[in-house]
């Protein structure tokens, strides 16, 4: 085999209270997709941030084509043609698409930014990625998936030799995913090395040429993808076998939440549904078909223009999330960074945010009970956090997501609305979360679960509704649902449109 493009040699990295990387060595070849696998907190993002110059290793070196290089900041990494798509988006909400894509590389004429050239170049990239976006749209108006694509566009703009993608698909829809995979194919053909992190098995096996497994900061193995089966991969990551969710059909309880002809702008055009105690109702559909808007209306974030909401057979109106929570409705939003967490606050504070008034005695917070609650959920969801990590922004992505889940589960709501509940959560933990969702439903909670991951919807739901252009295009029972049927409904043209 020819000389490796990147060699990681004995890389170690210690954070206060956490050994993130422990003597990691392996090589990455040019023209390959090299996938990094590992549980939440295994050290994948940390290693990639070292490659991108964000962190310095405590010991060890990185060689590029045999030459030791020093990457003391992101700029020096960029100078080596290394680009990174971060797990937590780094695009700027206050700028438009074009300026985000060209950030730091604005074409200039006579010292001034050449706006025309800037937007033309940005447009070219947007077109190549089939984003269908106007380069002058402010980022704040885009969906999470669209922002993720802008992040990707920005990274590939410079035609990098090495490109790191940290869970790029965790917020993408089917179509964007295909665009991304095609892009990866072109990058590969050009001889670039793609370092790819994902918790989704399907895409890992589809894309990977080589797979490296990390566990608790240590390098476990690096082998050609063909050497792995799904089971072996999981076992290597987790260090034990993972059981699939078992599900028995259960009788449906009484209807708890009912929506009648909900309409909100162009996103929600008349949705009627019933949600019963003890069931998991999965919501599938292409990204942007109105799922998130439905959740926001049900949770009182958005007021519907028409239609009504019924709780236990009585009509209700939630004018704010506060009112929805007071009625026992909880909502795990799709974007933990901007909607789910207060990043600079600690695990305990974030977990208790929705229950502030429940944990008080004589007007003061009852910290003893709160600590107990946090300890329980930390253990139950196996959240990796250390005492020194004073703010959740220092947790790994998957562990952050678990904190958001814990915050709402701890409330023990009657109706739980989940929007991409396992985004960024590793396979082992994902199975556990699925199990947990089944359990709490069995305990009588009514669960509405929106997910762009079909296998997730199929394996956890009792009933599945498929959304298409703001309407429900069909409903399936768990035993009659499969990927083809769901996709057929997701793509089906609605004839009875008004």
């Amino acid at each position: 085999m020819s000389q490796a493009l990147i060699s990681f040699e004995h890389i170690s990295k210690q954070f206060p209270g956490v050994r993130a990387l422990d003597d990691v060595s392996f090589e990455v070849q040019a023209g390959q997709v090299h996938v990094l696998m590992g549980e939440n907190g295994a050290g994948k993002s940390t290693l990639m941030k070292i490659l991108a110059g964000v962190y310095q290793p405590d010991s060890g070196i990185i060689r590029l084509a045999g030459q030791p290089i020093s990457l003391h900041d992101p700029l020096s990494a960029a100078a080596q043609d290394i680009a990174m798509i971060y797990q937590e988006l780094t695009v700027l909400d206050n700028l438009d698409v074009g300026r985000n894509i060209m950030l730091g590389q604005e074409p200039s004429r006579g010292g001034l930014v050449n706006w025309k050239a800037l937007y033309m170049q940005a447009q070219a990239i947007v077109d190549e990625l089939e984003l269908g976006l106007d380069v002058r749209t402010p980022l704040s108006r885009l969906s999470l998936a669209e922002r993720q694509m802008v992040e990707i566009a920005r990274a590939v703009r410079r035609q990098p030799r090495i490109i790191v993608m940290d869970e790029p698909t965790s917020s993408l829809g089917k179509h964007e995913e295909e665009v991304l995979f095609a892009l990866i194919g072109r990058l590969k053909a050009r001889g670039a090395a793609i370092l790819y992190i994902s918790h989704r098995m399907d895409e890992v096996f589809r894309l990977a040429d080589t797979i490296t497994v990390l566990r608790d900061g240590a390098h476990i193995t690096t082998e050609p993808a063909a050497h792995f089966t799904r089971e072996r991969l999981i076992e290597l990551m987790v260090g034990r076998k993972v059981e699939a969710v078992e599900r028995q059909a259960r009788p449906r309880g009484a209807v708890v939440l009912e929506a009648r002809e909900l309409v909100s702008g162009r996103l929600l055009r008349g949705v009627t549904l019933q949600l019963a105690a003890g069931e998991v109702l999965g919501v599938a559909g292409l990204a942007g078909s109105g799922q998130t808007e439905l959740a926001r209306v049900l949770f009182g974030v958005r007021q519907p223009q028409s239609g009504s909401l019924w709780l236990d057979g009585r009509q209700v109106r939630f004018r704010s999330p506060q009112e929805a929570i007071a009625h026992g409705v909880a909502y795990v939003p799709e974007d933990r960074k901007s909607l789910g967490l207060v990043l600079m606050m600690g695990v305990q504070a974030n977990m208790s945010l929705a229950a502030l008034t429940r944990y008080q005695r004589h007007g003061l917070i009852d910290f003893a009970r709160l600590r107990q609650l946090v300890a329980d959920w930390t253990q139950r969801l196996n959240i990796k956090a250390s005492v020194q990590q004073e703010s959740v922004e220092l947790l790994s992505g998957g562990n952050q997501q678990k904190v958001v889940l814990a915050k709402w589960l701890a409330l023990q709501p009657r109706v739980l609305i989940l929007n991409e509940p396992t985004r960024g959560i590793d396979v082992g933990a994902k199975a556990e979360v699925h199990q947990l969702i089944r359990e709490i439903a069995a305990g009588g909670m009514a669960v509405l679960m929106i997910s762009s991951e079909l296998p997730e919807v199929l394996s956890v739901s009792d009933r599945i509704i498929v959304m298409r252009q703001g309407r429900i295009s069909g409903e399936l029972l768990a035993h009659e649902a499969d990927e083809t049927r769901v996709l057929a409904l997701a793509f089906a043209d609605l004839q009875e449109a008004g």
Partner: protein, 334 residues
């Protein structure tokens, strides 16, 4: 077994540790003034420093809440002044003392309500709203006083808010102490305090967690306004008259004290304990420079320089000592 900490459950003094830069600044100034002027190092002067810093301290507490919640208040000097003026006029016109004091506090609270309500209801940045309210407050106090200070003769008032002493310390220092304890508990031990941090840290996430973000901010403004009203009452008592013009540099000194204490200007991160250090630094500085008879314009220049210097020192200290790094911060190789 894993234990998870949050910023709410740390011993009272622990937040001081990372502020060692500012602590260092305080010590350095202390040594410097002790050597530079014979009048600095004695108990009476220390009592003076406390007395002179009381008004600033109350305003800085208020500013800590405001900045933590992600807002700013530039009306403190003007609101403090008008609160003092109205209290003094009430006393002059023979109102009962408690009533007069209530008027002062109420004036501050009303101004705070105005600040908070306008900026939340109409989405105008508090930076702008509070500037406007400052200007209005100033105009009103000029008009009602015909631009002349209102002297305060009420003995009880003077003694109750300035002259009385307890264990050697002037009474206003005791008020500062009492307020500190109350506000500390409010901020660190109640759901409201937690909401203040959350709203300043990520307003959307707070909203989606069922925290009425706008209402929390309005309450913070009202609370801060009442505190500033109290600062105005203390100031009028200390000077024996209520001045018409905004209390000198009040909001800027308060902001400096808060930021010196390491509270993040973008909200959500900070501590009341550390604001106390910032107050101490500015208090010592004001006192020492006056004792040395430094020209008041130069005082401002020096103060500005030292505030910036102390913040830089603090940064350096935090980085140099094994650090807790903020997000996306590239690490230093010490």
């Amino acid at each position: 077994m894993m234990s998870v900490l949050s910023r709410w459950r740390r011993p009272l003094l622990m937040p001081l540790a990372p502020t060692s830069g500012v602590l260092l600044g305080v010590l350095a100034l202390f040594v410097f003034f002790s050597l530079a002027t014979p009048f600095f190092f004695n108990v009476n002067n220390f009592i003076n420093i406390g007395q002179q810093s009381a008004v600033l301290a109350v305003a800085a507490f208020a500013m800590t809440f405001i900045i933590l919640s992600g807002e700013i208040d530039l009306s403190m000097g003007a609101v403090g002044a008008i609160a003092g003026v109205l209290t003094a006029m009430a006393l002059r016109d023979g109102l009962h003392l408690p009533l007069a004091v209530l008027i002062g506090l109420g004036t501050g609270a009303m101004a705070g309500l105005l600040n908070g309500f306008i900026s939340m209801r109409f989405g105008v940045p508090s930076f702008i709203v509070t500037l406007g309210v400052a200007s209005i407050a100033r105009a009103i106090s000029r008009t009602i006083t015909q631009n002349r200070p209102v002297s305060v003769l009420d003995e009880t008032y003077l003694s109750l808010f300035s002259d009385a002493r307890l264990l050697g310390l002037t009474i206003n220092v005791w008020y500062v102490g009492l307020l500190f304890v109350l506000l500390y508990v409010l901020l660190m031990r109640t759901p409201f305090g937690m909401a203040v941090f959350a709203v300043g840290g990520n307003r959307q996430a707070a909203h989606l967690s069922g925290i009425p973000a706008a209402r929390v901010k309005v309450i913070v403004f009202v609370l801060a306004g009442a505190l500033v009203g109290f600062a105005g009452i203390l100031q009028a008592a200390r000077l024996g008259s209520a001045r018409v013009d905004p209390i000198n540099n009040l909001e800027l000194d308060a902001i400096a004290a808060v930021v010196l204490g390491g509270t993040s200007f973008s909200g959500g991160r900070g501590s009341l304990v550390r604001t106390l250090l910032g107050i101490l630094l500015i208090g010592i500085l004001n006192n020492g420079l006056s004792l040395m008879n430094v020209d008041s314009y130069w005082q401002l220049v020096i103060k500005g320089g030292i505030v910036i210097g102390a913040v830089l020192l603090d940064r350096w200290w935090v980085t140099a000592s094994r650090s807790r790094q903020p997000v996306q911060d590239k690490e230093k190789r010490a």
